[in-house]
């Protein structure tokens, strides 16, 4: 009976955690810090059932209690079972330097009026920042469009995390994307090597983007690339002819989506596949993320990357 109850409780907690990772629910919360906390805590709660159990960010081992240890670190469950005091040991790493590179160009402001790609990206960035900070890793933030708009160097303090949150919250979309050039600039600017997490919709010349990414690799950075897209961008699923306006350049184009839909979808698939292939060749972690994708996929990808680095 106890086992069943325990299992049910675990399931319930896991379901709640999964709920917390859905973008549409996260959007209902106020404050980016709260959003980040919810996402990360929900994610970690879900990890108990994941293959990453025992990963060093949580705890590493139990050791017998010794005088001078904080009482709050005593594991009371173990005490209940063994009648002895054990302390939970957590691994603390402070040697990772992570840069969150967030694309805030005009194309990220889609679809207007609901959760945009930028919203999704900033919540993802906030969650990653929270997670990194929780691990005592240094985390910095770069917000770019066709140029670098804001650069916050990496730090591991709680106050720094709040600065990052505030910056993310205040970011407004706008401007053109020149992702290739910006990546080259950033690669030059980030002197000390670390983990570079790029969150972008990658709407730029594919060759230039890949060249920019390779530049980072040349500077010995580890790269994690999140390719954010809306399902409309992948499917072009519109029922009537449209006058399309480019969110960045303002250029207009009349199309009948019914006539070019199949070719467009094929083109988008090819583009994604080529990004993936280019990233693989350069040993870059590439993760396409639709706006409907829960945040845990992104966080898992990060953890995979993090584990490799550790």
């Amino acid at each position: 009976m106890l086992t069943r109850k325990s299992t049910e409780t675990t399931h319930h907690r896991h379901d709640a955690a999964q709920w917390a990772l859905k973008p549409e629910l996260v959007a209902k919360l106020k404050g980016i810090d709260l959003k980040a906390r919810l996402v990360v805590e929900g994610f970690l709660a879900g990890l108990h059932r994941s293959p990453y159990k025992g990963f060093s960010v949580e705890f590493t081992e139990h050791r017998p209690y010794m005088p001078g240890d904080e009482l709050k670190r005593i594991d009371w469950r173990v005490y209940g079972r063994t009648d002895r005091f054990f302390i939970r040991e957590f691994e603390e790493e402070t040697n990772l330097r992570a840069y969150l590179l967030l694309d805030a160009s005009g194309s990220m402001h889609y679809p207007p009026g609901t959760i945009t790609k930028l919203d999704y990206s900033r919540w993802l960035a906030a969650s990653l920042a929270y997670l990194l900070n929780r691990q005592k890793d240094s985390v910095g933030l770069v917000i770019f469009t066709d140029r670098i708009n804001r650069y916050i160097p990496p730090r591991a303090t709680g106050a720094h995390l709040r600065i990052i949150f505030r910056e993310l919250e205040n970011t407004k979309p706008g401007g053109d994307t020149s992702l290739g050039n910006t990546l080259h600039q950033l690669a030059e600017r980030l002197k000390r090597r670390g983990l570079v997490i790029i969150i972008s919709d990658l709407w730029d010349d594919q060759t230039q983007v890949l060249a920019g990414l390779r530049h980072f690799r040349a500077r010995k950075h580890e790269l994690l690339l999140f390719h954010i897209f809306h399902p409309d961008e992948a499917n072009l699923n519109f029922p009537t002819p449209l006058l399309m306006r480019d969110l960045e350049t303002g250029a207009e184009l009349t199309i009948d989506p019914r006539l070019i839909k199949n070719r467009y979808q094929e083109g988008f698939r090819q583009r994604t596949a080529e990004f993936k292939k280019g990233c693989n060749e350069a040993h870059i972690d590439y993760q396409p993320l639709s706006l409907a994708t829960p945040f845990d996929q992104a966080l898992l990808k990060y953890l995979e990357c993090r584990r490799r680095l550790s």
Binding site: W203, D232, I260, R263, E266
Partner: protein
């Protein structure tokens, strides 16, 4: 270009509907902000030229299809003038028979006539339905041509042609004949050469679809209608008989160029009076020539007919009664009396009378019979026994004596065209032997012996049939043979229904008996007409020639039906090899116009099909073609 239905030209602007929809859809195009046009441009550039072309092609095809459809509604045609026909004087002969009402023939004929009338300075017009009248003066001709409709009369080109040829001899103006050149409209030979060139505007076509109603007649308990398929393809028609405010319907399939008979039950109505007439009409489901789809009838369909059999001691009515008793469904109600009782009977109660032995009748009896026949009664007189020279029958026929051969005589001729005998074949009577007959002369012989003596005689001007043989074994073995019963019944039917002719063709002169010389009112489909009768002999009658309108004509209790000639419905044009034999040499034969309706409909269909092919192929190829980089 001219139009048969120009009213539909008002709908032509609707053809711009696709263009309007196209422009409106462009104006109302939904705008959408999209992250990047990078990939869209790549994909669209590849298909851009095709898309623009496709849009344009589809727009043109849709507009074209709609334009063609709307244009086809106006039924346009290209008029063609006969070449080299420029003359100040011109005689136009216009066939206005009812066959010209088929399809759009009349419209074309009228337009062709108008062209000729307008082109000539002194045009003259002659209509085949009125060959005695020449219409002159451009204004009069234009008015006539504007209002003229095909007459219900059959085509008879000869009178109009002869009149036109006569007229053409002075000044020799060219002649134009506008006709469908029906096979029946021209005599096969004998027409003189036209004095001036005769141009024929030939509107006839060998292919047509038309059915009509031929003869309508009463056959015992049935009204029978002959349905004729004039065309060279099988057809299905619904035939309706309208009578006494109700109708009966049948459907019939007809093989090409065949005639079939449809039978309707002739319910006998309880009618009073000496003779009464049932009227109504039979109608076919309509085709492109409606005039021959309705046929009126005026038939005597009596209730039980009281039949008086005057029996003589020398001649039994046994075999007559056997037949009448067997015909229980028939209309006859026989009453047998002996000759002396004839004086005490009111004969007007009996529309039909049979005397079994004419030899037994006294002079006073003959006076009564004579009076009875003059009053409209009908009689079958059996004159089989040897007759005295002073027999009253010689009031109608000449008595030549008796045929009493050592052996027997056989039938040599049967008039199978007569209504009494038209169901028989002469061989039906071949085995019949006659042992004793009376030799008669005069009247119309319907059946004749090998000796030349008549066996059955119809007396003209009277409802009287005389049999020159007695229906008894001592006179003939006919009483034991199959034709005897139908012969007797049909004779009685004929006598009760042929008081006067009830079926006329349009244009016929109608003669109807009247009681006195006082003017009478004849009711016609065009209104009532007061007519003064003409005196006899034998009786006063009215003669009426204006039967141009089909329908029922009534005079008191008398009714007749006037119908178009059924043969006019056969629209087969005269063949090219037969035409020269008529005496006419064709100078120019031309079609007056080219109908554009069918090509336009074809074009609309083609445009629609091309559009379908484009749309279907797009769906097909979109599923298969990968993006080319």
């Amino acid at each position: 270009m001219r139009f048969l239905a120009p009213g539909f030209l008002l709908l032509l602007p609707l053809a711009l509907l696709p263009v309007l929809i196209h422009l409106l859809s462009r104006l109302r195009l939904r705008r959408l902000a999209f992250p990047s046009l990078l990939l869209l441009q790549t994909v669209r550039r590849e298909r851009f030229s095709w898309l623009r072309l496709r849009e344009l092609v589809l727009l043109i095809l849709r507009t074209l299809a709609l334009l063609c459809l709307l244009f086809a509604l106006t039924r346009p045609y290209l008029p063609r003038f006969l070449p080299g026909l420029k003359s100040e004087d011109l005689i136009v002969i216009l066939d206005d028979s009812y066959s010209m009402g088929y399809g759009s023939r009349w419209t074309h004929a009228r337009l062709a006539a108008q062209q000729f009338v307008n082109a000539a300075k002194r045009p003259r017009l002659i209509l085949t339905s009125q060959p005695d009248t020449f219409f002159t003066g451009p204004k009069t001709l234009r008015t006539i041509l504007d209002t003229l409709t095909p007459s219900p009369a059959a085509a008879a080109l000869t009178p109009a042609l002869i009149r036109a040829f006569t007229e053409s001899r002075t000044g020799t103006p060219p002649l134009v004949l506008i006709t469908d050149l029906q096979r029946s409209a021209l005599p096969e030979t004998g027409l003189s050469q036209p004095p001036a060139p005769l141009h024929i505007v030939h509107l006839g076509r060998p292919k047509f679809v038309n059915a009509g109603i031929g003869r309508l007649y009463l056959d015992n308990n049935f009204i029978k209608a002959e349905i004729i398929n004039h065309s060279s393809q099988p057809i299905t028609r619904t035939v309706r008989l309208y009578r006494n405010g109700a109708f009966e319907e049948q459907t019939i399939n007809l093989a090409p160029r065949t005639t079939a008979t449809v039978s309707f039950s002739a319910h006998r109505t309880a009618q009073t009076g000496f003779r009464s007439i049932d009227t109504g009409f039979v109608q076919l489901s309509a085709d492109s020539l409606p005039l021959d789809d309705t046929r009126y009838f005026a038939l005597n369909i009596p209730a039980k007919v009281p039949l008086l059999i005057v029996q003589a001691p020398s001649a039994s009515d046994r075999y007559l009664n056997l037949v009448l008793a067997a015909d229980t469904a028939g209309p006859f109600l026989p009453t047998t009396v002996h000759r002396p009782e004839l004086h005490s009977l009111d004969l007007s109660r009996y529309p039909l009378l049979i005397t079994t032995d004419a030899a037994a009748l006294q002079p006073g009896d003959w006076d009564r019979i004579d009076f009875y026949l003059a009053a409209g009664g009908a009689a079958l007189i059996i004159a089989g026994n040897p007759l005295p020279e002073l027999c009253g029958l010689n009031r109608y026929l000449k008595i030549l004596g008796t045929n009493h051969p050592a052996g027997f005589l056989t039938v040599a001729r049967v008039d199978t065209t007569h209504p009494i005998l038209n169901i028989f074949h002469p061989r039906d009577f071949a085995p019949t032997r006659f042992f004793l007959t009376t030799r008669l002369a005069g009247g119309k012989s319907l059946m004749q012996l090998a000796s030349g003596d008549p066996l059955i005689v119809e007396v003209p001007g009277k409802n009287l049939i005389v049999w020159a043989f007695a229906p008894a074994p001592f006179a003939t073995d006919l009483v034991f043979k199959a034709p005897f019963a139908p012969l007797l019944i049909r004779t009685l039917n004929y006598l009760t229904t042929t008081a006067y002719r009830t079926d006329y063709i349009v244009g016929d002169t109608v003669t109807l008996p009247v009681k006195s010389l006082a003017p009478v009112t004849l009711s016609t489909p065009l209104g009532n007409i007061l007519i003064s009768p003409q005196p006899g002999p034998p009786r006063p009658r009215i003669v009426f020639a204006d039967t141009r309108s089909p329908g029922i004509y009534r005079l008191d209790s008398i009714a007749i039906a006037v119908n178009p000639d059924a043969q006019e419905g056969d629209l087969t044009p005269i063949s090219d090899n037969l035409l020269p034999r008529t005496g006419i040499t064709i100078q120019t034969q031309a079609v007056p116009s080219a109908d554009l309706t069918a090509p336009l409909l074809f074009l609309a269909l083609l445009a629609f099909l091309i559009e379908m092919v484009i749309l279907v192929s797009e769906v097909f190829f979109q599923k298969r073609s990968p993006v080319r980089k």
